[in-house]
Amino acid sequence: MALRSSTARVLAAEDGLADSPAAAFPAAIARTSFVGQAWALLWKDLAVELRRRELVGSVLVFSLLVLLIFEFSFDVDRAQAEALAPGVLWVTFVFAGVLSLTRSFAQERDRGTWEGLLLAPLDRGAIYVAKLLANALVMLAVEVVSLVAFIAFFDVRADWLALALSVLAGTIGFASTGTLLAAMAAGTRAREAFLPVLLLPISVPVIIGSVKSTAAAFGQPAGAYPWLGLVLAFDAIFLAVSFAVFEFVIEE
């Protein structure tokens, strides 16, 4: 009960309901709209991250180190940097993404706040949407900084708008199944090891599409297909399927 009321208080505070009597909290949450619930949950995740800064910081340093290892492994010089850029960037983003997705549900379980979330009379879909947005925002924050570092390290030129859209579309696609499977992996014993095994084969279409559309943004040959549009189509399918089955993953 303590968990329920603490979650309720967070949610209620965000909805301006902090003055309601304690007994009315669950009912007040249930009356809140889907968007209101998702927004409150997203804000909770971002507030936790902004105050503790444990996730973005460590994932960011990790992805900068991946770039460093790429430099050592391929001895990238400026002439070939643009040809290698899509591969180097997406390997970095995928590793960083797996790392941050694993933590997002592991944190809830470790602190015991997961049960609180499930006990609150929330729409399961709202939990999915909020977690998805929180994960995508953490990934994007890390990606923007890694991208700036990559540009500074290797002095590459690109169509910046196309590059930004490719990264955004790829991240949403990766986070959509990633959020579903991370919730699943957090319920297994070997959760850190399990997420990549589940997520990477499922994400193959998004990874291929994102690498190709990123290549096109760097002016590299990427074939005749409209890759950015295809990634957006994959995003839509993955989002719809993950949203539909999420409730089965978080049932206890």
């Binding site: 297994t188 095994v197 279409p205 295809l230 399927v241 089965f248």
Partner: protein, 243 residues
Amino acid sequence: MSTLTLESPSAASAQARTHAFPWLAWITFVLMALSLVAVFLYAPIEKTQGPPQKIFYFHVPLAWDAYLAFFGTLVGSIGFLRSGRQKWDVLAFSSAEIGVVFTTLVLISGSIWGKTIWGAWWVWDARLTSTLVMWFIYVAYLMLRSSMGRTARAARYAAVLGIVGFVDVPIVHMSVTWWRTLHPQPTVANPAGPTLPGDMLATFFLCLITFTVFFVYLLRERMAVEDLRQTVDSLTARALETE
């Protein structure tokens, strides 16, 4: 973690089911023998590829069985999530296990064929790559099940993966096809009609039927084993309770 609540154990019916299908085993045996005769004695030697082309008669039906098995997993997964009945979960799990075995055989037989025709064990062609990705998806499915044990949660997670994985397979295939392709175009399921000569086509369809029956036989056997195992589990649980 709660273990599955078992449907009323009936050792007798499970046992009856195990032994009710030797006739299916016999049909499979006879069909398999006929298929071998057709492949090696009836079907002509292909002009450009020579004898190695005969792998085709097993390679494609194996792939057919793998898709059939993963479709079985999809059906079982949806059935389980809708009804919560354990028999659907048994179907999903048994089918996935058989599917992974057949996908492995597809990859191996394709590899042998590729070595003789393309001169390489493996090429990163669209169909090979997407089959490999499919194999990884369902290996993850089996790993999930073996790491979580036979709990209700494991069954639910697996069902979700069985659905997401099946939806993913055609998308993977499309994305990889757009990425690149080198594999021969379909010679049987061709919109302009099959391009194979008649005797080869007849042999191929015989093999396809054989492997379909073989798959049904394996699936029934595997499900019967699972039934027996669950019966043993519930009998053990009951024995421990009364002690």
